[in-house]
Amino acid sequence: MSPADDPRVGRLWAQVEEAARVVPALWPLATAIAVNPLWDLRQLPFEAAVATAGPVLGIEGYPAPAQMAEAYAEGRISADDLRAALAAREGRRPEAGPGGEDVMGSGVPGSATTAVERLDARCGSGLAGLVDREVAKWCGAYVAGILADPDEEGFYRSWRRAVVHDPGARALVGRAGRHQLAAFGEDPASALRGALDHLAVPEARWVAELARHLGRMPGWAGLAKWRSLWAEADSPGRAPTLLDYLAVRLCYEAVVVTAPAPPPRRARLARRGIERRHRSSAPGGSRDGLPGGGSWWTASPALGDLPEDLQRQLAELDPPARAATWLAAFEIHYRDRLLRALDAAEQRWEHPAAPSPAAPSPVAQAVFCIDVRSERLRRHLEAEGPYETFGAAGFFGVPLRYQPFGAAETVDLCPVLVRPRIELGEQPVGAASEEAARRSLAGRQAMAGARRAFDGARKGSAAQFVLAEAGGFVAGPLALAKTLAPRGAAAARGRLHALLAPPVPTAVTVDPPEGTPLGEQADEEQALLAEATLRTMGLVRAFAPLVLLCGHGSSTENNPYASALDCGACGGNRGGHSARATAAILNRPAIRRRLAERGIEIPVGTLFVAGEHDTATDRVSILDRHLVPASHRDQVAALQAALDRAGAATAAERRRTLPGSGHLGRIGQPEHRAADWAQVQPEWGLAGNAAFVIGPRRLTAGVHLEGRCFLHSYDPAADPDGQALESILTAPVVVAHWINAQYYFSTVEPAVFSSGDKTAQNVVGGIGVVRGAGGDLGVGLPLQSLFDGPRPFHEPLRLLVVVQAPLARLEAIIGRNRVLQELFDGEWLHLVAQEDEGSPWQVRLPGGTWARWAPADAPVRRPVPVG
């Protein structure tokens, strides 16, 4: 990665990395995870970061005026909320304003343009779009393996070999220019330097210039950023690096700008006038034709019934500040509603007539992922009987590199911010296991071979003809079945799979070699992780005889974004394996001994079992049933039955929110959607997410949170030193923030941060999608994950973190962690807390002061500072 030892080149790399801060890293589709697109600008307050990225990416970064007007009309924002937001703004004006600091270090961000863009602006030509086309063309060819790279030399070198024969380049820069393209240097670093020199960009402006180059196609640039800064060196799939990508792009620009005489086609294109393909860099130019349209620069919510004084005050603000005020009001409204609901529930507990939640000791405890989709299921499971539920990050604190049985590759089952710490696999267990395993594996290999044979014939230049024809007579009936009876077709396919490759009962191999120093070390590591897991969620005593660890995943069909619906804490994979591994670790006597030494006494009669919640169907299955000892079989069966009922109730509750469930009839129901290849909205995923509650379940039990809250269990009493709280705030909260910010930006800037309409998406090289025929890779979530037709389903709100813990402990933790300071002080997240049960809520203001919460519509309008 790091180029030669030349100090200038080293400086160049630093500048490239700096420039790449404005584009979000883009993970390949196989592990599509939610990302805060502006994560690398988190050092700035939210408003300043948006203002910085705005001109580079062509975004405004706030919910559109029309959307705010609608929320106001529906009472989701009130005049009181707006007043409170204005007051809060008033209170801290001096400290933070947008555009205060020049993060890009050099040049004014607002003037960022590339050389060709400046040329276009002068001549009214559309050459920048042609450069984009060439770069996208070669990026696509490279990731799909069409551009030969036999020696793994990287994108730039492969491109350089090919481009001298490229007719597209000839049309753009002429025959001589085509050779000039390859003349800037052997390696990407020197070519990039050469091109920058050729363009006569002063070194002080490099970062701004490079940032705009990346910002023109955030998708390909984001993939390059992932490759350079996030991916493991050995992760599969080809992608350009940042240096490669910029070198290629700058070479085109350098030659296009200085090409001696435009060839005929170029001249024609230049005459043809304004290029519309790419968003103009003016803010708001990006919203045409997409849902949630409207710009704060050209419009304000048109509200006749807004009180005069508010209208006047809002009109005084400049557009971004006005937008930010509306957003803040939207957030205040939700905050007040949530805290009121929590307070009401608390009063209910205190009411003597209400049943005390701790009355019967639970027959089973169940730990679910913090994911907002678990909230509904937990509520319904608790209604089924004496079940106690907990929330924890879905990888259960065990960062795994996992090799599923018989699989070719390993999968990293942990948040991308965490490095895997233990490697595990699985082994077949039980009678005749070896024979069964061999048979299953052979069956899977044969199926993969058949698919390969089909692909081989499909891509053969003469072999494809008869294949298409013969295949059609099989494909036709199949397509009919998949369309008319999706569930039946899926069931039939499942049976066929089971017939060809019978499933083998396996167990996760958690037992290290006994008695060796290596085994000791592994035991110690496992015990450490197990202790942290239990302590973090506050499950350290009063274990029930059965403890379920429940991961989650989503079964969908024909869905390129399937992994975006899986567990984010498992790196965009299904969470079942993590649950199985953790349960296996916690069931090991050696680990329990070590835990007991650390003060966590797990009774001998307690069994940990793993489960997986299918969020598309709301079915929960308990995994590894063959490992359950006879003593616990009845209890497991009873738990499974309760989970079935709770799942059905959850699905029934969710059904109403699904688009088209009214008119699609039977086929619009959740369990059909999961199997339906025509369904673009199998479930809503994490849409609607708005808050993250950290505290004991008593805080939220019985409250209908509408599937909008991440719930992490925490027992303030069991965590005097704040270690557990610190690990919650620095890991799960940050992951949830990424998810929340992804949904936020995808909803408010669908043109840039969403990958567009799912029905027009086109998978490229198995790693990304383009909209329609080609061009830039799509970034972020598809529109169907966020919008119900033209209406946004997701309410774009910054995450509200609600904690029950001593404020001093919270402040100490925030003070220790730079990231938390940046996020809370920069208002990327909001924080409210209460010292303990029943005490008043306190709102944290940027800078670390706390103010007692009062609802916006309460008689006392302004929060009264207490700290």
């Binding site: 551009l147 024969h165 519309r276 071979g449 390969r452 013969a470 494909a475 399937a562 688009p659």
Partner: protein
């Protein structure tokens, strides 16, 4: 039975029109309207099936309006060929509509989409079953208009405007040619009865010196609709439209070229210049598109060039007189492509799902040898077995089947399997080949009587093998490093989408 058949035939045409009206008027706003339209589509398919049963049980029949002299003025005709095509068109249309009501569920313009697709189905039904040439031409133009409307349903999606304009422009070009041909025929021959084999065969004679012009115009129209050669430049951009629109296009609309030529029979087929033009244009298109297909990184783009290639193959089959093979290919490919397009979202591999398996590489020379031997064996069998070539080149397909089998076999061989699975694989391949042969034979028996024969076959079916040979040579050439280095960038550039323009009509043309 005939009454039932007539009812079915009538229903197949009337119900999609009703769907068009309902969807057009209600705009698909209500869920019930959408359900009704989709239901009408399936009912039309049942009607077409009823027609098929009636033909199978009895004899061909028609819904005809006859003039004073007993000649057909206007009407629909159901024979083995037309009812087969009717079932295909109605079925694909209903499938696409069923898919679309779910995949476009949040789209306020879904009503327009349903109306447009109903229109395409109704118009294609006229093309498939019109009893006279003017009706067929009318249906053809209507199908083009309706499809352009489907394509332009979502002008908000990037690239849709440009693709729509370009398609409209090129369709207009091809359709104008067809209308001119229709006018010429009407002027010289009158209201040409497409059902009457003798009238069709006599038509070129009565056209006299205009026969070649008419044939070339028909070929031009077919090449445009089936996206061949430069006339097919409208096709790649259409992937900008939603997936169901692409499925309808690739499984329905592009087949128009083949349907037109088969139905007009000797009108085009009896002209040697027209057939040479058709073969050269379609054959070269097929060979080039087969290369471009593997130079597109995206799923849909690759499918587009696959369609181009397959349609080229189908038209080349027609040009050498293998009409039956062309029709079979048309039907099979339509179903295949509908499946692949609708399922185009399934192309993302998930980690940890591919089974660990050893691999072995088959040297290129050996692969070429395997292909050569299997193709050669097929040719040998055809030459040696007397009468194998008698059925107008359908037997040439055996060579292509052998090539497919060879490609599948070597890909299979690259993953070592246990003996049992290897036997199963070979057995499966043999079984599939047998089944395919059986289907071919059955379809041949079924369609044979309805295919206008006679004039077909001015070019030898062996030319198809020349085309395949040329394709294989090109493939081999691309394995030579010196050539590959120079040619691959050209292919990548030609396959890549153009820069999206401002959507002005003339931008799509130049």
């Amino acid at each position: 039975m005939v009454v039932l058949g007539r009812l079915g035939l009538g229903a197949a045409l009337v119900l999609p029109v009703a769907g068009l009206v309902i969807a057009g008027m209600l705009g698909g706003a209500s869920g019930r309207a959408r359900r009704v339209v989709v239901g009408l589509g399936w009912a039309a398919t049942l009607g077409a099936l009823g027609g098929l049963v009636a033909v199978a049980a009895g004899a061909p029949f028609g819904l005809l309006v006859r003039g004073r002299a007993g000649s057909v003025v206007v009407g629909l005709w159901a024979d083995q060929l037309t009812v087969t095509l009717l079932v295909l068109v109605c079925g694909v249309g209903a499938l696409v509509q069923s898919f679309a009501v779910r995949s476009l569920q949040g789209d306020p313009r879904v009503g327009r989409f349903l109306a447009g697709t109903s229109g395409v189905v109704a118009a294609m039904l006229l093309v498939c079953s019109a009893a006279t040439l003017p009706l067929l031409v009318g249906g053809w133009v209507a199908a083009g208009v309706a499809f352009v409307a489907v394509l332009g349903c979502r002008p908000d999606l990037p690239g849709v405007r440009q693709a729509t304009w370009r398609t409209a422009w090129l369709f207009g070009l091809g359709d104008t040619g067809l209308v001119v041909a229709g006018v010429l025929v009407a002027w010289r021959v009158g209201n040409l009865d497409l059902v009457d084999a003798r009238a069709l065969e006599a038509a070129p004679g009565r056209l006299g010196d205009l026969a070649t012009v008419v044939a070339l115009l028909l070929v031009g129209a077919a090449l445009t609709r089936s996206a061949q050669w430069v006339l097919g430049r409208w096709l790649p951009g259409t992937v900008a439209a939603p997936t169901p629109a692409s499925a309808l296009l690739h499984a329905g609309v592009v087949n128009g070229g083949g349907i037109l030529l088969v139905r007009t029979g000797a009108l085009a087929g009896a002209s040697l210049p027209a057939m040479v033009v058709l073969f050269v244009a379609a054959g070269s298109s097929a060979a080039v598109a087969a290369q471009l297909m593997t130079r597109r990184p995206d799923v849909k783009g690759s499918l587009v060039y696959s369609t181009k290639s397959q349609m080229g193959f189908m038209l080349a089959e027609y040009a050498v007189g293998a009409w039956l093979a062309a029709v079979v290919h048309l039907v099979g490919h339509a179903l295949y492509k509908a499946m692949l397009f609708l399922g185009s979202g399934s192309q993302v591999p998930r980690l940890g799902q591919a089974p660990a398996a050893p691999r072995r590489a088959l040297p290129g020379l050996l692969r070429a040898g395997l292909a050569g031997v299997s193709a050669g064996a097929a040719v040998g069998v055809m030459v040696a077995v007397p009468g194998a070539l008698a059925d107008r080149g359908a037997a040439v397909l055996v060579v292509f089947a052998a090539l497919s089998a060879a490609a599948a076999a070597w890909s299979w061989w690259e993953r070592p399997a246990t003996l049992g699975w290897a036997v199963l694989g070979v057995g499966g391949l043999l079984g599939a080949s047998g089944l395919y042969g059986l289907v071919l034979w059955g379809l041949g028996r079924w369609l044979g009587p309805a295919l206008p024969g006679g004039a077909a076959g001015l070019l030898s079916p062996w030319w198809l093998l020349v085309m395949a040979g040329a394709g294989l040579v090109a493939l081999g050439a691309l394995r030579v490093p010196w050539l590959a280095e120079r040619l691959v960038p050209v292919l990548v550039d030609r396959a890549a989408p153009e820069r999206l323009g401002s959507g002005l009509w003339w931008e799509g043309v130049v």
